[in-house]
Amino acid sequence: MRSVEEPTAQAVERVFRQEYGRILATLIRVFGDFDVAEDALQEAFIAAVGHWQSAGIPDNAAAWLTTTARNKGVSRLRRERTQSKLRDQVKLELEVPTVMAPDEPDLLRLIFTCCHPALNQEAQVALTLRTVGGLTTAEVARAFLQSEPTVAQRLVRAKNKIRQAHIPYRVPPDHLLPERLASVLAVIYLVFNEGYVATTGDGLIRRGLCTEAIRLGRVLLGLMPDEADVHALLALMLLHDSRRDARMREGELVLLEEQDRSLWDRAAIQEGTALLERSIRLEANRPVGVYQLQAAIAALHAHADSGAATDWSEIADLYTALLRIYDTPVVRLNRAVAVAMADGPDVGLRLIDDVAVQLDGFHPLHAARADLLRRVGRRAEAATAYARAIALCTNVVERRYLTRRLAEVG
């Protein structure tokens, strides 16, 4: 038998997942304060559980929640009106319409405020996931392997800074947009990467974060449909994520070359490729961007029928182009690996040596070097490099893979 409560609870849960960020964004604009808005929305969701059960789920659940939360927030401010500053705020509140629906531009305001460069990136990430994504503080903490009090304190500090330093609640004007959008995209990509390549711990793929990052990417695309970089970032995430089911086999990491490509998500690859193409068409006169190049590399992998059939020289060229606008030791390492695949391990090894000092503490360098040494038959050196990679690697799954490789050359 189906319980009566279940559909209501499910509906509340569904609306929460879909609408939390949009509703909160509007409430923050109305109240001019994150905490008042968050508390009011939480009360409204609690009210919804009881009310929807007897009265049924309203046609426009988001508007119901926004209006209810607004009323709850106003009564709270009235209760606290002893403070003159709050009295002014209440006066403002009475001018807003009785029935309110969440407003799309508000969500964009919220996203840009959470990712304001005057907040440090850890705070930007936590605040975006908590407010735009609707994750609980405990969920954010778990995803980033941090303690809940640490994350809670980070959120309090970020909201205080927004309030005290008067970080504006707005979409930045055109002249600031490129750099501010870059900081929003960096936050979303960081969330994705944190889920995709867990830096520590047992879970290689913390699925939830990838899904959330892709969802945020889609939300942003809906709000900024003409931005090439927004298309490119979503394309990049979808193309990486298409491999999720093939990256693990019986608890072991499977390298790209050895993955069962029939497990790749064709729909995600198609969507990612279409987004990348649109991204390139959107700003055809603009120099190519970091996300576009990375998505193009991911697309070449996604469309290759096998590791051997991959167009490695094209990938090496794309890394060379990426290096021109984003020169980091890690990009140099990736380029070295691509060149090794295109032109042979010896050339690759020489290129790896160029960044060996800078990336000495970075296990993928030693893993890549070990792999190339193994291919050219320098087994003893390969073993040393695998051992070094294992010592530096904190991911259990990846360590198991490297240990297996070490046994092969040892």
Partner: protein, 116 residues
């Protein structure tokens, strides 16, 4: 008459908690001090800064404005001046900070003042 800026330094973590006896004592001491300097006619202006957790540092390098969370933290530079901006929000303050002539070599730390 020569003018002086009196810059107040102390460990923020040691600030007495709001409402505690120590905090009331500090407020009283400030009240007395403010009366004394006013009577003596030495204080032209002055105000408290909000904690360093509300600070934003602005630098301009190669024509690019770099914004970081937190107070100015290097030790090679010395404090060279104090400006008070009336701005509508932090973005406007950052914009003006990025035009301060010294910003291309040094750093401008923006700290909100306590209201009123």
């Amino acid at each position: 008459m020569p003018k002086y800026a009196a810059l107040i330094y102390r460990v923020e973590a040691e600030w007495p908690e709001q409402g505690s006896p120590a905090s009331r004592q500090l407020y009283q001491a400030w009240g007395t001090f403010n009366q004394d300097v006013a009577r003596a006619g030495v204080m032209s202006s002055g105000t408290g800064l909000q904690p360093s957790t509300t600070a934003t540092s602005v630098r301009v390098r190669d024509g690019k404005t770099l914004i970081t969370d937190g107070p100015f933290a290097e030790t090679r530079e010395q404090l060279g001046g104090v400006l008070i901006f009336d701005c509508k929000d932090l973005d406007e303050a950052i914009m003006w900070a990025s035009k301060v002539p010294d910003v291309e070599h040094g750093c401008i730390e923006l700290r909100p003042l306590w209201d009123g």
